[in-house]
């Protein structure tokens, strides 16, 4: 019986994934998420192409700093943040607005299984988009420097670890923000104001007392990125100054936040009612 349930749930989650991922990837209105993810890629490639055309030799150290800044301030704080807002709020709140959620609730699927399926679909979509974005941008970073320098960086300078860390951080960001916004979709009929509050909270992270810092996603993400760039000038509003925690703690903290979001959302989904009229 127990084994049967598990295999049933697996099949159901797979069915949900098929449905949702297709919707996520092919929705024309999701185009802006691709644009967000692609912006740094395009920038890095244009930079690479310009340098290659002009036969300029670029300083990998300088470029990787620029990349780190862009990843830290643009990708984590803005692109992945808003991308997750779009994808994860759509999962439940969006389907309520479109009045199509009841088809899920009328299938022989446990509400919790539905929640997990949809969350996974969101995580898979966003992390595919943003990890690919990160990887492509990193490739651009490496192709336009001399081959020896790139190899030196990757295999002797610990660059391979950096590359994996960037990609992993992007995925973990999707997992963490996903949990937060999934929950928001349940709690608020119009989550825009709460989303803005979360955005400000994440931005205010450096000024918070140590305990409250740990209640944000960006705190842990920050501990994971390989090169931390101090914010100056116009980036100041996105600044994050924090003493990093060890990586294993940061990963655990992020997963914990995601799990807490999922658990609270599961409590909501169990008593979810279809009340489209008043949305």
């Amino acid at each position: 019986m127990n084994h049967d349930s598990w295999s049933l749930w697996r099949a159901q989650v797979a069915a949900i994934l098929r449905l949702e991922i297709k919707k996520n990837f092919l929705a024309k209105r999701g185009l802006w998420i691709y644009l967000l993810a692609a912006a740094p890629v395009v920038l890095m490639w244009v930079h690479a192409a310009l340098n290659l055309r002009d036969h300029r030799v670029c300083d990998l150290g300088h470029d990787s700093l620029i990349f780190a800044a862009m990843f830290q301030f643009f990708y984590l704080r803005l692109a992945i943040f808003f991308g997750c807002v779009g994808v994860f709020l759509r999962l439940f709140r969006g389907e309520m607005m479109e009045k199509s959620l009841h088809y899920y609730l009328l299938a022989p699927v446990r509400r919790e299984v539905l929640l997990v399926g949809k969350y996974l679909a969101g995580v898979i979509t966003t992390s595919i988009i943003f990890c690919t974005g990160t990887a492509l941008a990193l490739i651009a970073l490496l192709v336009h420097v001399p081959r020896t320098a790139a190899e030196q960086y990757l295999f002797a300078g610990g660059g391979l670890g950096h590359v994996l860390a960037y990609i992993g951080t992007a995925a973990l960001a999707c997992i963490g923000y996903g949990g937060v916004f999934l929950l928001m979709g349940f709690l608020f009929r119009n989550p825009v104001v709460p989303v803005v509050l979360v955005f400000l909270w994440e931005g205010a992270n450096p000024f918070l007392p140590a305990l409250l810092k740990r209640l944000s996603v960006i705190f842990y993400l920050h501990s994971l990125i390989p090169i931390s760039v101090p914010a100056q000038g116009d980036f100041a509003f996105l600044a994050i100054l924090s003493t990093p925690t060890p990586a294993y703690l940061a990963v655990a903290g992020l997963l914990l936040i995601a799990l807490a979001g999922l658990w609270l959302a599961a409590r909501q989904v169990r008593k979810l009612e279809i009340n489209y009229g008043v949305e």
Binding site: Q12, K23, E95, Y103, A107, P108, Y276
Partner: protein, 313 residues
Amino acid sequence: MTGNEIVFENVSRFYGDVLGVNRVNLAIPPGITSLVGPNGSGKTTLMNLMTGLLRPSQGRIDILGVAPDDPERLFRFVGYCTQFDSFPRGMTGYQFIYAYLRLHGKPHAEADEMTWRAIDRVKLTDAAARKIAGYSKGMRQRIKLAQAICHNPTVLVLDEPLNGLDPLVRAETIALFRSLAETGKHVIISSHILHEVDAISDQVILLSSGYVVAEGQIHGVRTEVEDHPMQILIRCNRPGALASRIFELDTVVEACVHNDGKGLLVRTRDPDRFYLMLNRLVVDGVDLESVAPADDDVNSVYEYLIGPDGGSI
């Protein structure tokens, strides 16, 4: 307990201060059951409660031994065609049914076969590959119906399933309901037109402002009316003479001549006998201009039970 009935025990549901349904007690056996009532009487609320889309504020519901808050078991044998005219975005008719069948955990081949069977049953085979967003109202209604019946449920809950169907399709759909009911399934249909479901239902449940005002076999509801005299309006040249003859029938309760001297209102307990007699009277030379039930049978049940302002039929 695995009953063979859908049981409501003292179920109430409020939307804030607004009453959805109140103190409903029902035991619905297999066959076609119609929920009838004017707009806002609580039909949809009752169906949503049955399928767990809403939770009762009070009371207990039991669908053949399963509680509505256990979707994993419930929807193995329940299909619900809702009133919402909305669909997941960007899907074709086929994908719509197939994708949600996969949620049952069925493998591709089986789901595919069941999908086509359901689509054939509602005669949408030609349109199956088109996007639902481009369907007509009747086609949308039918694809929803197909989705509700695709997994061969034994309890079928259908909210206004005949809405927007043309007469031909309507007849076919009704035949489909009958054939399902004959195999011992529960088919629950809602409608605000008693007329529409009168002939096909095994039992009706009349709702008004959130209360169940009558339930039972359609004949039962009819005899209810027999205790309640029926009014017939007659226009003729000699209403006085007619009135005197009419009272020969002991089932006539009242006859009242109109002021203009050309009409007569009769109240009778047995309209059938009255009509028979009327035929004889005409032979005797009374010149009838018109005979019309001031309230015909289904309407009068409705009006009698729900009140004349209970909604238009």
